[in-house]
Each structure stands twice: as structure tokens, then as C-alpha cells.
Subunit: 212 residues, 2 copies
DNA sequence: CATTTATTTAAACCAATCGGTCGAATCTCC
DNA sequence: GGAGATTCGACCGATTGGTTTAAATAAATG
């Protein structure tokens, strides 16, 4: 984790360094990302870099830590407060927030994707795994809470539902990014609401009866 | 596209070369994939490689072409045949097939993912884009047909529905791979059916009434 | 068998890039 | 002006990149 001196830099400078690095890492992986290119892009000299970080792995770990702080949703939310009546409105709000966050920082999903075949360098793999396991766990707990209060179907494992939801949501998000200006604002809003309704229908108990 | 001589090789040899290359490309991208490592893994000498391919880009294009042939589903299916009664059973069958195919060749999704920031080399980007646009188009036509016969809701764009479905499906597939032995066979089967039912509910028209 | 043609091999190539080091230059503040 | 903090970029050895080449082997041809 970055040398203490790093904390004394401008908040904005730190943000710029970490986010630019995050973009590189998320696009090319840990070993694939080039320190040289990154420093070019940052207009930062080698010497300065090694003044603030031990090495490449150190930078990566710092980036993951930063990503964790950014991605962490509403820390003020207590799962215990959620009952059947507020569960869905809350989750819809959360999804809106997350969408906005991922929308402005797309590298978050790229980083998360690094977890399938993770880097091999020393503490790097562990740092990654730990943080993102926490995120997954949080999402899963949320869904489990939904099951407990009857807002989410209980006949499928919570982690399966989580996977389906997140998968659809990421795809949906990409679609919205790509098609932002194909429709007018009202239509986008309508589509967005319908999509959230679809997510909800994915997780709720299915209608009891249906003819095959 | 590979030299003509390449076609005279064992079918199995060709398959091995192209699939190993596909794994590399899908994991590290076009520039990220190392020809040297690939040849090591293949126990193939440099000379032999350049005897069959012009260069790295040529290999890549050949791989994409091969992937396209593999991924192409049921070419004997005529969209015109699908009416409201057979649409869903057919699509469920198709999804099973595709799942099996992607399951044994996970690099297919990796290759597809290369389309977000695509390689820059000469004909490479175009080759990629063309083939995978065809796949997307095919899926989208299918959904549009579903809309036409009333099996799929028509109040959302077909490509949006496609994106959501494929996103959820890929995530679900990964979940099944990772949790294969957590449940017994019957349970897996049940889960799988429920998940397909969820996909169906994502695309069908929502129930007319619901209390907020 | 001889000779041509197809295929494979291993080494060499050279440019580029990698992460990392270092000593000197510059800045900041007393 | 002196001392510590910070910045700089040339430089390092090592590795890797994709590609070429000349010679060895195998297959085919007459």
C-alpha cells in the first residue's frame, strides 16, 4: 500500500493517478498494464512514481483499495431495517446509484473481471480477491435478506440470483451507454424503469400458475 | 486467412491449433497474446507456424472465422417457422445447445468480449466486428420474430432485450460452471429449468396488473 | 535410386518494452 | 544558504515481441 507520503498529495492528484491506473489495469490486467505507458499518460516521472510507491504491485493494491471505497454503496444502510414493504424500493434506489457510479467509472467492472484468472504476483491476488469477495458478499446478503422477508423467491440460491441479476444489469448498463442518444429523454426514462421492473421480476417469486 | 496448405493438415491438428490460439487471444487480447508462448504450448516451431500463416494477424483472423463456424447455432432453423406455440420451446432448446457449446468452449465469450475496444492491426478489427455482428444480428432477429408472433413483449427494443438476456445467460452459465458439484444432479437440473423460466419471464409481456 | 518438393527445425535477429535504479537537479521552507 | 523533500529522465539488464533464414528432414515424383 502506497507510502505515507502519497496521502499528502492533492486529493485531485491522487484521484487522477489512481483512476488512470485503474483504467490501465482494468483494460490489460496486472501484468499486461504497462507502467511506462501509464506514467506517460500521467506526465509523471519514474522517479516520482517510485517515490510514492514501492513497486507496480504496490500501486495495484492501492488501486484496488481505492476501487473498493468507490464501489462501496450506501454504508448507512442497515439490512435489518429492510422489510417486505421497503425492500424493493430500496433495492431499486440502490441499483440506480450503482448504475450511476459504474457509468462514470466503467473500470470498476473491468477490475472486477480480473478475478477470473487473477494475477500471480505476491500480495496482489489476495488483495483483489478479498475486496471483491466483500462486494459479492454484501450483494448476496442483501438478496438473502430479501428472501428472508419474502420479497425474493427462496427456491433458488441467493448467489445464483445475485449472479443473474448482476449479469443482466451490467449488460443493460452497457446497452444504455451505447444507445443513449437513440431515444429522447422521456423514452430512455421509460425504458430504464421497465428494465428495473424486469430485474424485479427476475428475483420475485414467479406467478403461482401457468399453463405449459 | 491461413495459407491453403493449412487445410491439408489433420482436422484434429487444425482444431488444436486454432482452439489453443483462441484461448490465448480470448484471455489476453490480440496484442496481449504471445505468439511465442502459444507456440510453446502447441509444441510447434516458429518456422512451421510461418509456413502455414502469414503472420499473427492472419492467425487471428483464421481463429475468428473458426469461432464463427463453431458458435453458429442450428443453421437449419427457419425463423419463419416459429409461431407463438413453438417459439418458447424452440428458444429453450436453442439456449440449452448454446450453453453446452459455450460450456465446452469458454473462449467464445472471451473472443466476443474483444469487441469492446478492438485491436488496431490491419484487417483484424474488421474481421472481428463483422462476424460477431452477424451473431448479434441473428439473436436479435430471433427476438424480433418472437415479438412479431406475440411471444415476446414488444414495448422494449429487441436489441435491449437481447442484451439483457445474453448478459444474464452468460452470468448464469458461469455460476453453473463454478457450482457444478455443490448440488446433486437432480437439483442442478431443477435449478437450470428455473433459470430458463426466469429468462422467459424477462422477455415475455409482464402481467397486466400489479399493486405497487 | 536420384532428385525435386513439402515440411520442420533451431537459431538468430533486432527493435521494443519491461520494471526498476540512481545520481543529479530542483523546489520548499527555515 | 543550507537541509530535507520532491522531481526528473537517462540508464540498466533482462525479457519478449514478431519475423526471417539456412539448413535438416520427410514425402513425393520420376
Amino acid at each position: 500500500m502506497a507510502r505515507p507520503r502519497f496521502e499528502k498529495l492533492d486529493l485531485e492528484t491522487r484521484r487522477r493517478i489512481l483512476e488512470t491506473a485503474a483504467v490501465e489495469f482494468s483494460a490489460r490486467g496486472f501484468e499486461g498494464a504497462s507502467l511506462n505507458q501509464l506514467l506517460d499518460r500521467l506526465d509523471l516521472s519514474k522517479g516520482s512514481f517510485y517515490y510514492y510507491f514501492d513497486d507496480k504491485a504496490d500501486l495495484f493494491i492501492t488501486v484496488v483499495d481505492y476501487a473498493w471505497k468507490v464501489m462501496l454503496p450506501a454504508e448507512d444502510l442497515d439490512l435489518g431495517d429492510l422489510d417486505a414493504t421497503v425492500f424493493w424500493p430500496t433495492l431499486e434506489l440502490l441499483m440506480r446509484e450503482t448504475r450511476a457510479r459504474v457509468h462514470e467509472k466503467p473500470w470498476l467492472v473491468g477490475l472486477a473481471r480480473l478475478m477470473y484468472d487473477p494475477p500471480e504476483a505476491a500480495g496482489v491476488r489476495e488483495a483483489l480477491a478479498e475486496k471483491f469477495a466483500e462486494v459479492r458478499q454484501w450483494q448476496e446478503d442483501l438478496i438473502r435478506r430479501g428472501q428472508h422477508v419474502g420479497a425474493v423467491r427462496s427456491d433458488l440460491p441467493a448467489d445464483l440470483l445475485r449472479a443473474l441479476l448482476v449479469g443482466a444489469d451490467e449488460a443493460g448498463d452497457q446497452w444504455f451507454v451505447a444507445n443513449w442518444n437513440r431515444f429522447d429523454e422521456d423514452e430512455i426514462e421509460r425504458l430504464s424503469e421497465e428494465v428495473v421492473a424486469i430485474y424485479r421480476r427476475m428475483l420475485e417469486a414467479p406467478p403461482a400458475e401457468r399453463k405449459s
